[in-house]
Symmetry: D2
Subunit: 345 residues, 4 copies
Amino acid sequence: MIKVGIIGATGYAGSELVRLLTSHPQAEITCLTSQSYAGKKYAEVYESYRHIPYICEEEDIEKMAEQCDVIFLALPHGVASKKVSESVLSKCKVIDLGADFRLSDLDTYEKWYTTHYSKDILPEAVYGLCEINREKIRGRRIVANPGCYTTCSILSMYPLVKEGMVELSSIIIDAKSGATGAGRSLSLPNHYCELNESVKAYKIASHRHTPEIEEQLSKAAGEEVIISFTPHLIPMDRGILATCYATLKDSYTYEDIRAAYEKHYGGEYFIRLTKEGTFPETKWVKGSNFVDIGFTVDKRTGRVIVIGALDNLFKGAAGQAVQNMNILFDIDEKTGLDYVPIFPA
Amino acid sequence: MIKVGIIGATGYAGSELVRLLTSHPQAEITCLTSQSYAGKKYAEVYESYRHIPYICEEEDIEKMAEQCDVIFLALPHGVASKKVSESVLSKCKVIDLGADFRLSDLDTYEKWYTTHYSKDILPEAVYGLCEINREKIRGRRIVANPGCYTTCSILSMYPLVKEGMVELSSIIIDAKSGATGAGRSLSLPNHYCELNESVKAYKIASHRHTPEIEEQLSKAAGEEVIISFTPHLIPMDRGILATCYATLKDSYTYEDIRAAYEKHYGGEYFIRLTKEGTFPETKWVKGSNFVDIGFTVDKRTGRVIVIGALDNLFKGAAGQAVQNMNILFDIDEKTGLDYVPIFPA
Amino acid sequence: MIKVGIIGATGYAGSELVRLLTSHPQAEITCLTSQSYAGKKYAEVYESYRHIPYICEEEDIEKMAEQCDVIFLALPHGVASKKVSESVLSKCKVIDLGADFRLSDLDTYEKWYTTHYSKDILPEAVYGLCEINREKIRGRRIVANPGCYTTCSILSMYPLVKEGMVELSSIIIDAKSGATGAGRSLSLPNHYCELNESVKAYKIASHRHTPEIEEQLSKAAGEEVIISFTPHLIPMDRGILATCYATLKDSYTYEDIRAAYEKHYGGEYFIRLTKEGTFPETKWVKGSNFVDIGFTVDKRTGRVIVIGALDNLFKGAAGQAVQNMNILFDIDEKTGLDYVPIFPA
Amino acid sequence: MIKVGIIGATGYAGSELVRLLTSHPQAEITCLTSQSYAGKKYAEVYESYRHIPYICEEEDIEKMAEQCDVIFLALPHGVASKKVSESVLSKCKVIDLGADFRLSDLDTYEKWYTTHYSKDILPEAVYGLCEINREKIRGRRIVANPGCYTTCSILSMYPLVKEGMVELSSIIIDAKSGATGAGRSLSLPNHYCELNESVKAYKIASHRHTPEIEEQLSKAAGEEVIISFTPHLIPMDRGILATCYATLKDSYTYEDIRAAYEKHYGGEYFIRLTKEGTFPETKWVKGSNFVDIGFTVDKRTGRVIVIGALDNLFKGAAGQAVQNMNILFDIDEKTGLDYVPIFPA
């Protein structure tokens, strides 16, 4: 059994990790920590756990590194980079669900986020977008688990960018997320009566997932990609839908586009292409690790419109983190992740 | 592997059965049928199944009985009683998720429902409320899976009624259900904009789950029990909350009440008693087979108030049906059912 | 024009008052105050007011009393009783939306709430349940505006209690409220993802609206009434539904019951009795001052079941407060309140 | 008093018209008709009307034209063009809430919709986007009330297109709508459990509001405009948010953009520009005739992002129709429409 530690287990992403790992047949939770709830029963923080006597412990990453095979970090940005050290990595694997190790360009990180405290370790981290970087992930000591919006956005656009089928300067991603994406911390915009029955855009032209998408699409393109990215908040718990627009470089048909997606994703279990004329809805992937992708060619405007959907806490966070763990420990990538979406829910 | 057939697989309860059985380690779906969608891919009916190529077949129960070890029926009332026959039961087990075999009193059935077409088989059916009737279920050929409201209501009140602690004529159950309880058939009251952002009672003093609750509580009490039962529709997908009121026969304390619940449910994995001062919320059991129960003694009025919560499609329908299958086939009752509730969702 | 001051204008009840009074043809807002937002534009607190330049002022009730004809208080309990004084009342009318002047029994108030700081003024206050106390309200200096649950509960049961048709000890009120009832203050239970898609009971057998309902029903009955009252939280913004149970003293028919309601409410514009077989839904009264009431006789149990519905911010708070103002200033009671419910919304 | 007839009063747009006109101080409903519910009380179709005894009548437009000063049509496309005739227009004004008279280009109409049956009358119709076409509307006999998506989209982009500040070929509008936009007719996608807790795009690159937006923006630009328009369905009752992207023709600043909006909308009561850094949310305009518009310049990409919000049943349908009536009858444009948004709701 893989011995697992979770630091920051009481946020929504952390709790989803606890849920998935509790049922994982080849892993067991050795230790879970929480700054806010240390000493409390986990079931008092999440009453869904009434039947399991987890206790929230004080964090001591060095000690955990000795007891665990892998440590998951689910922390605010800027905190993880202070915790990971050579000493920790020499003893166990680290999978970071936060942003600190996602951007390989240090300047970009410090411009969009804050000071980075593990500059020496940063080059070693691999961007854990499993379907794209699977082979690079194997054998690594530290994996940067991608963001929710970014997983959905990059996977939606990757084949077109990789195959050079779209004008790179034309990419616009209009994304919609459920409220769990904003976490469990209290704030007026996430107060029930303020968010319910409403839709809004936020962090327009300034959301921190923008450079993450750009860096990965740039790598795929072999040249710099600058995009417009607009996140929206939707009155629902889970789900991200990314509606992506790009101008086609040539008069490609639906079949041309489909061929590119089949080429890259044809063998991917967790990516499901919708059939022509059908498009993803977030409800069809809820509670699962699937990413559904559909697309159409708009001949009137010469654009391709691609729509991707995933569950932001599952494939967009904890599910992909477990998928990365499965890759790191050389077990079947689907282990503990092969949930049929729960519908309706 | 237990070979399973599902008749009526395209309603919400049927689809939840398909979901649970798809992941069940000791069962496999041999055949699933649908009157409305025969010949279609199941993934066209529920796009959550894009990755699994189930086909909806025409129903032929006699043929299915030969191919399957157990057949689940998820049909409108009055239909199942026409399909089940001695011939079928001689070849395989039957678990009926509908109402046709739940009431042992034929007159009560025909008064609240319709003509019964399997009067000869009715006496053989066992009421599949697993925690209460486990031993009676073993070895049976046909199990009547309880209703969603009834599972929640009976389990909430059973210990108090069985132990003779409440005035039987004083029982009032005010129940609240999510919209999946009304099924997938189109109707104005279930049109999104009509149901959303509203709450209402319906079938007041006339809901068909009333006699089912009464028959079971009467058996527990050893005398006739007549209750008030009022269902309400809540703007959410899943979940039932039953708020139960009864006058105490004596000046019982919280501890007295708790002792009764511990006596009957102390060893039950799927029943979780909340601690004193905490009460169930439907969200804490969503996507699981758990029933959470809490209670308080109101000294001012001499009443006990008991609150039970479950997921109506899971423990209230498909989950309990699978639990009955596990009992019938003598495998661990939790097999394929040990889901941690999904939260938030 | 009636000159109006509002103290505590930035809570949900306060903001509904601002909304209704902004459109009231015979009133004008002279001053609105907020402890949290003093000095800010009201439109920064509620962006629905982008077109109206209200400013949140510091509270100075003595000064306001000189400038205004009436002051509305929308404050936490225990605060209003500190602010109201003989000096204030000598200059202007006061309508308190909080609990401080609702209970005429001081001991009951201090048992369920906190110390009362205006014991001398308390006897002068009238309970502003307009349809019942209209004549007592006229000419008063201070009106205690009823609570949301209580308005719905009392109006639902009043005719039966007043006419002596039910066993007083048998009354049970199972109430359901939207989330605006919990106000705008941040708390984990009101965080979107915690409240959404769930239902729960809270403050079971201990909610502070209980003694308020009891005091008013006792006055109607001419003897002490003790009830069970259980509030529930529903995932929606607005609306209260009260499901009321009581044992009938005699074998009354539906027509007998209806006659009692017609006797007391036949001439009331804001109370709408549903026709037989139809029951209230909160969505049908949203955005209006109406209370819809329906009922049925359950011959099996000898109980009457009464269901009332209102909009908790409108008739349950600000609307009734304006109705009280209209009575105090001898203008048509419907002035500024005759909204058709907004549907669907 | 303006005598009003409403044909098609029982759809959601029709019912919103009934609501607004019931409270309109200078109009009275003389007749309302319904194909589905003729002969029934309107309160049986919408129980919000329990207090008003409207009756649904059989439609006879010629007779109505004699009794009414204005007739509103709220009908499926293709039906209105069969009903409007010279005879009707010679007797009364017509305001059509459907699509039949919105496109001045007949070929475009017949390509996107169906055969047009009033080709002779079409040239006379004016596009009733009040803030843009106010002067053209005065004195007309027939007004085509704009669509919900189109009102939001056109008003959001008009100043930039009119002032020639954006590349016309770059315009992308990603729109989000609440479920009332789909109407009251039953369909699986609008079944509560299917739509709730999910987000999806639909009619991608093929929605019929596309040519309507294009025709109006083309008129503003003085040359042909082709856009991408993608509608999305949001789990809420009311509201449309349009997120609009366009490439700037020059390095305009926020102030430059703002000046264009102030120039065109500075005097418009029902258009509210948000302050810099703040963006519209649908909840802030719910239940009102306001359109809120905000924007930002994204220097990284050279794009302007404009966000508009309105209530689709109010300004997006019935409210604007009443605004058109007010213009036609030369009364204050705000009459009967000056609602403060209802919040939270």
